[in-house]
């Protein structure tokens, strides 16, 4: 398949600070869903802003659909091709009604009124918010705002969708709904996220960024289950992944309450055992110790 996004030696520095991104060489094929993971400050959002043309690359080159980005007017030039859903919906939803917000891009394309209305209708139906046209965006719930944010981009019918933390601050139901919507998007997707469930449900490839560099690039399962790699790059494997891995390998894993403690017990078939105390009965136990639980591991 063709490469729709390519970067060569892409670097970026905020002001005179440290390098936010350093020599990123990347090629994303058409239809791929790439999850960008990494600790806070690893460069995920910066990479998305560069790909969308909002930031000017200090060094290197970005090629979208085989064309290099122009020196001037990058943001406008990519309007019809690359859609960006930012982390805070209040930055994305700036109009007075949902209709106006979703229509904004289509109106700027100079489309006739009928076509604008049709696109708004389609986009709102796609995110399950038909009938919300006259609602006021900043009065919506967090999940609804996120879905309207997606609709604003869908209405422009881009072939590439960039998403910055699309499931953060959402309740479980809204989160699953947003995951479904992202999965239904027909084009290429690049998602900056910390949400491992989103990655496992949507991504076909994971790029792990660490201190502005690509630390790993590969299939989602191999990266999110590599505990050593994640720990080295300042990430932690979520318990749910650990649990799923145990089930997958036929080992015994259980989560249970023991007196006032919440305990994760693991017994492998070859006799290895591990106990992680998630919630201590002792009120002064250190939070980090509880989280990582390494001192409670027993061989």
């Amino acid at each position: 398949m063709n490469s729709v996004i390519q970067t060569k030696g892409l670097s970026y520095r905020y002001g005179k600070g440290r390098m936010a991104l350093e020599k990123i060489d990347l090629s994303i094929r058409e239809g791929e869903t790439v999850a960008l993971i990494g600790a806070n400050g690893a460069g995920k959002s910066t990479l998305l802003l560069l790909l969308r043309g909002i930031l000017d690359a200090g060094e290197g080159e970005i090629v979208i659909h085989g064309r290099g980005l122009p020196r001037r007017g990058k943001i406008e030039a990519l309007a019809g091709e690359v859609g960006l859903v930012v982390q805070d919906p209040d930055d994305q939803l700036f109009s007075s009604t949902v209709f106006d917000d979703v229509a904004f891009g289509a109106v700027n394309f100079g489309l006739p009124r009928d076509e604008v209305e049709a696109r708004v209708k389609r986009a709102l139906a796609a995110v399950g918010l038909s009938g919300f046209e006259e609602r006021i965006p900043h009065h919506l719930s967090g999940g609804e705002k996120r879905r309207v944010s997606l609709a604003t981009v869908y209405a422009m019918e881009p072939s590439i969708l960039l998403l910055d933390e699309p499931t953060s601050h959402l309740d479980p139901k809204a989160r699953l709904e947003v995951i479904r919507l992202i999965r239904d998007f027909p084009g290429t997707r690049v998602i900056a996220t910390h949400d491992f469930e989103l990655i496992l449900k949507v991504a076909s490839r994971v790029i792990l960024l660490h201190e502005g560099k690509i630390a790993a690039d590969g299939p989602p399962v191999s990266i999110v289950t590599d505990e050593k790699l994640l720990r080295e790059k300042d990430l932690a494997m979520p318990l749910v992944v650990r649990y799923l891995m145990a089930l997958e390998s036929g080992d015994h894993a259980a989560l249970h309450a023991h007196e006032h403690e919440h305990v994760y017990d693991y017994h492998s078939r070859d006799g290895k055992t591990e106990r992680r105390i998630l919630r201590h009965s002792h009120p002064h136990a250190h939070e980090d110790d509880r989280d990582h639980g390494h001192e409670h591991e027993n061989q």
């Binding site: 943001i75 007075s96 106006d100 229509a103 891009g105 109106v107 700027n108």
Partner: protein, 247 residues
């Protein structure tokens, strides 16, 4: 305060159903006519008309009067100044002050049926329909949108201050804290403005203002309502001219 237009903008009267472009134009003409009045009787008649429009629009009269009261109180200071400074003497000064106060009240009262009979964003969009530059209308819409957001954020900051034991008092400490909070909000708003502008550019913002106008064609009943407002404006000016002895 910024949500009043939502509370009363829901359909209640035939003024609510009127096309916003014609409504704004009709009431603007009425406001211009009111500003031209020079006799106390005509100004009083304008007050009556404006009060009638408020009642006709089925707006909450007590709330409207409360909001108008502050303006009336401010305007009444003319009674303290003009009788002593008017070149025509104290009697002419009182008459002049009376005209100013009555005209002011009439105009403020007129603004309520003008803007509270539709959600404000629809009225602002109607300005684009009246061929005001789209960028200006976009700016007004954005201002209106984010004033509400920052109103909410200010309320949140106030709660978070109070939750940490801060009490608003009349002292330097409170003033310093308020200054800090307002500064913080300004700083955040400045940063957010950049992000919003980028989001607008991402969605093709440029030559066009991005406003989907979409007003339906003007109906005959809307035309009649506009003609009525136009006629009232003419009658008001004619009445004032008649009182001033012009024909």
């Amino acid at each position: 305060m910024t949500t009043d237009h939502l509370l009363y903008g829901a359909e209640r009267s035939s003024l609510h159903r009127m096309d916003e472009r014609l409504k704004l134009t009709g009431f603007a003409l009425l406001l211009i006519a009111m500003s031209l009045l020079q006799t106390p009787v005509a100004a009083l008649a304008a007050c009556g008309l404006a009060a009638g429009a408020v009642v006709f629009a089925r707006l909450p009269v007590v709330l409207v009067l409360r909001r108008t009261g502050g303006v009336a109180l401010f305007l009444s200071t003319f009674f303290l100044i003009l009788p002593f400074s008017h070149p025509g003497g104290s009697r002419a000064g009182v008459q002049e002050a009376l005209v100013i106060v009555l005209k002011g009240i009439a105009m403020v009262l007129t603004i309520f049926p003008m803007f509270w009979t539709a959600p404000l964003h629809r009225s602002l969009k109607a300005l684009a329909g009246l061929r005001l530059p789209q960028r200006l209308v976009t700016l007004l819409l954005l201002t209106f949108r984010y004033v509400q957001t920052y109103e909410m954020r200010l309320a949140q900051l106030r709660i978070s201050l109070q939750a940490r034991g801060f009490r608003f008092r009349r002292n330097l400490e409170t003033l310093r804290m308020i200054g800090g909070v307002v500064g913080l909000l300004l700083l955040r708003s400045f940063e957010q403005t950049e992000r919003i502008y980028q989001a607008m550019l991402c969605r093709g913002y440029g030559k066009k203002g991005g406003i989907a106008e979409g007003f339906p064609p003007v109906s005959i009943s809307d035309g009649c309502r506009f003609a009525f407002l136009f006629l009232l404006s003419l009658l008001l000016v004619a009445f004032d001219l008649h009182l001033r002895g012009w024909g």
